[in-house]
C-alpha cells in the first residue's frame, strides 16, 4: 500500500510538469557528463604522468649540415666527436643507459610517426633528421646536470629534455580538466536551481493533496518522500544519460587523444565504470538534497 501510493504520487508529479522534468534531466545529464569527463581526464593525466616519469629520456642531438647552431659550422659531427660524447655520457654517474640513434633510424622513425601527413615526409630527406644519443637517467629530476655537461661540446647541436615537452602537454590536459570541471560546476548550480524550481512547482500543483495529508495527520516523511524521490528519479535518469555521454567521451575524446598524442597508458574500462557510478550517485544525491531543501521552504508541515 505504502509503496504503491508513493510511486503513484511520484508518477503524477513527474507527469504534471513534464517539460520541467525533461529540462531537469537534460541539465543533470550534461552536468554529470562534464563532471565525469573532468574526472576521466584527471585519471588519464595521473596515469600518464607516472608512466612517462619511468621512461623519461634526454636526447642529445648531434650537428648536421642543416642545423642552425653556429657552433656546428654547417658540418656533420665527426665520428670521433660522437665517440667522445658517448664515452663521456657513460661515465656520468646520473646516467643509467645510453643509446645511439643513427640518421637512418631517426628518419625511419620520423616517416613512421608522420605517415598520416605524407607531404611532410616527402619534403624531408634522409639526413635532415639528426642522429642523437638517447640517455636514460637514474633520476629524471637530474637532467639539468647532464644537459649542462653536454651543451656546447664540439659536435653537439642541442640537448632536449622530454620532461619539458611532457610538462607542456600535461599543462594542456590540466587546463582541459579544469575547464570541464568548471563548466560542470556551473551546470551543477543550474541543476540544483532547476531541481528546486521543479519541486516547488510540483508542491504547488499538489497543494490540495498535501494540505489534506497534513490535516489528516500524514507524517512529514510520507508527505515529502514522493517529492524527494521525484527529484532523485530525475537525477537518476539524468545520471544514466550522463553515463552514455561518458562512454562516448571515453571513445571519442580520451581514446582519440591517446591515438594522436601517443598516450602511453590506456585508461581502463573499469576505471571509466567507477567514474560513471560515482557521477550517477553524485547526481542522485544532489537532486534529492536539493528537493529536500526546497521542501523545507515551500511545504509547511
Amino acid at each position: 500500500m505504502r509503496v504503491q501510493f508513493v510511486l503513484q504520487e511520484i508518477w503524477i508529479g513527474l507527469r504534471r510538469n513534464l517539460t520541467m522534468s525533461i529540462s531537469l534531466v537534460i541539465t543533470v545529464a550534461i552536468a554529470m557528463a562534464l563532471f565525469g569527463t573532468g574526472l576521466l581526464i584527471n585519471k588519464q593525466v595521473s596515469n600518464s604522468t607516472n608512466y612517462w616519469y619511468d621512461k623519461i629520456e634526454v636526447s642529445i642531438f648531434m650537428c648536421t649540415k642543416t642545423s642552425s647552431n653556429t657552433s656546428c659550422n654547417k658540418a656533420d659531427a665527426t665520428q670521433e666527436q660522437k665517440n667522445t660524447i658517448k664515452s663521456d655520457l657513460e661515465k656520468l654517474p646520473q646516467v643509467s643507459a645510453v643509446e645511439y640513434e643513427s640518421k637512418d633510424a631517426a628518419f625511419a622513425r620520423f616517416k613512421d610517426q608522420f605517415s598520416s601527413t605524407p607531404g611532410m615526409v616527402q619534403s624531408t630527406k634522409a639526413g635532415d633528421i639528426p642522429d642523437s644519443f638517447r640517455v636514460r637517467l637514474k633520476n629524471p629530476e637530474e637532467y639539468k646536470s647532464v644537459s649542462s655537461a653536454m651543451l656546447g661540446r664540439p659536435g653537439v647541436d642541442q640537448v632536449v629534455n622530454e620532461q619539458e615537452i611532457l610538462k607542456k602537454f600535461f599543462r594542456i590536459l590540466n587546463g582541459l580538466q579544469w575547464a570541464a570541471l568548471l563548466i560542470a560546476g556551473i551546470q551543477v548550480i543550474a541543476a540544483v536551481l532547476i531541481v528546486g524550481n521543479t519541486i516547488r512547482l510540483s508542491a504547488f500543483n499538489r497543494r490540495r493533496e498535501t494540505g489534506i495529508m497534513r490535516l489528516v495527520g500524514s507524517s512529514n516523511m510520507y508527505i515529502q518522500l514522493p517529492f524527494i524521490l521525484e527529484g532523485a528519479i530525475a537525477g537518476l535518469v539524468g545520471g544514466i544519460l550522463a553515463a552514455f555521454l561518458l562512454v562516448l567521451s571515453k571513445i571519442f575524446l580520451i581514446d582519440r587523444l591517446q591515438g594522436s598524442l601517443q598516450f602511453a597508458s590506456q585508461l581502463s574500462w573499469s576505471s571509466v565504470v567507477g567514474i560513471i557510478i560515482f557521477s550517477v550517485c553524485v547526481g542522485v544525491l544532489l537532486c534529492a538534497l536539493a528537493s529536500f531543501l526546497t521542501l523545507r521552504r515551500y511545504l509547511k508541515i
Partner: protein, 229 residues
C-alpha cells in the same frame, strides 16, 4: 477533551489580538457551537486545537496533552485523532467519493483491506449509499460536504472540528448536514462547530460559546445564536 487555559493569540502582522485570555473547556462527547462575527477568532480557535498555530500566551490542552510540550514530529499523530471539515469541502476533484475518503487512510499508511472495509461503512453513515463512484463535480454541495465529513470521520477521531460547514449550503440541505454531525456526536465524538448560521444554532439547542473581538462573551449550555435575535 479541549482545554484553553488563558489563551491569547497575536498574529505577527496585526496589533489586535485574534484571541484574548480565552478560557474554555470542552468535555468528551460534547457538541459545541462556536459563534460570533467574522474576525472574532473562531478559526484561530480551531487552528490552535490542530496546532497549526501556537498561542502567544497560555496553554492549549487536547486529550490531556499540553500542545506547547508536544514535539513537532508528534503533531501528525495528534491530527489523526482530530477530524476537520471546512466551508469549501476541500475534496480532490480527480478522485471519486470512495477514493477521496480512502485518501485520508492511505496517507497515514493504513492497509488496503482495512480501507476496503471501513470506507463503505462511513459512506453509508453520512448518507451517500450508492454514490461511492461519483466524482465530486457530479454531486450537490450538500453531498460534497457529506463526503468531506466522511473523510474527516473515517479514522474515528475523538474530536471533529467543523469550520462553517453549512456556509456554502442552502438552509434545507444544512439540516441534513447537521443531522450527520449529530449522528457522529452520538457515537461519542466531541464536535466543535464554528458557524454564524443562527437558524441552525437556534434549532439544535446545544452549548454555545460566543466570541467577540477575540474574547469569550457568552458560554451557555442549550443556547441560541444571540439574545438580540
Amino acid at each position: 477533551m479541549i482545554h484553553f487555559d488563558n489563551v491569547t493569540k497575536v498574529y505577527p502582522s496585526q496589533n489586535r489580538p485574534a484571541l484574548q485570555h480565552v478560557n474554555v473547556a470542552v468535555e468528551k462527547g460534547e457538541f459545541v457551537f462556536l459563534v460570533g462575527p467574522s474576525g472574532s477568532g473562531k478559526s484561530t480557535f480551531l487552528r490552535l486545537v490542530l496546532k497549526e498555530e501556537r498561542p502567544s500566551q497560555g496553554h492549549v490542552h487536547v486529550a490531556g496533552k499540553d500542545l506547547s510540550r508536544l514535539n513537532n514530529w508528534k503533531v501528525p499523530h495528534l491530527r489523526r485523532r482530530i477530524g476537520c471539515v471546512f466551508q469549501d469541502f476541500r475534496l480532490l476533484p480527480n478522485k471519486n467519493v470512495f477514493e477521496n475518503v480512502a485518501f485520508a487512510l492511505e496517507v497515514i499508511g493504513k492497509p488496503r483491506r482495512f480501507i476496503g472495509k471501513v470506507v463503505p461503512e462511513v459512506i453509508d453513515l453520512v448518507g451517500l449509499e450508492g454514490k461511492a463512484h461519483r466524482m465530486p463535480d457530479e454531486l450537490s454541495g450538500g453531498e460534497q460536504q457529506r463526503v468531506a465529513i466522511a473523510r474527516a470521520f473515517v479514522n474515528r477521531p475523538m474530536i471533529l472540528l467543523a469550520d462553517e460547514p453549512t456556509g456554502n449550503i442552502d438552509p434545507a440541505t444544512s439540516i441534513g448536514i447537521m443531522k450527520v454531525l449529530d449522528r457522529i456526536n452520538r457515537t461519542g465524538t466531541t464536535v466543535v462547530m464554528a458557524t454564524h448560521d443562527a437558524a441552525i444554532v437556534d434549532a439544535f439547542r446545544k452549548r454555545v460559546v460566543e466570541l467577540e473581538d477575540g474574547r469569550v462573551v457568552r458560554d451557555q449550555s442549550r443556547g441560541v445564536y444571540g439574545q438580540a435575535y
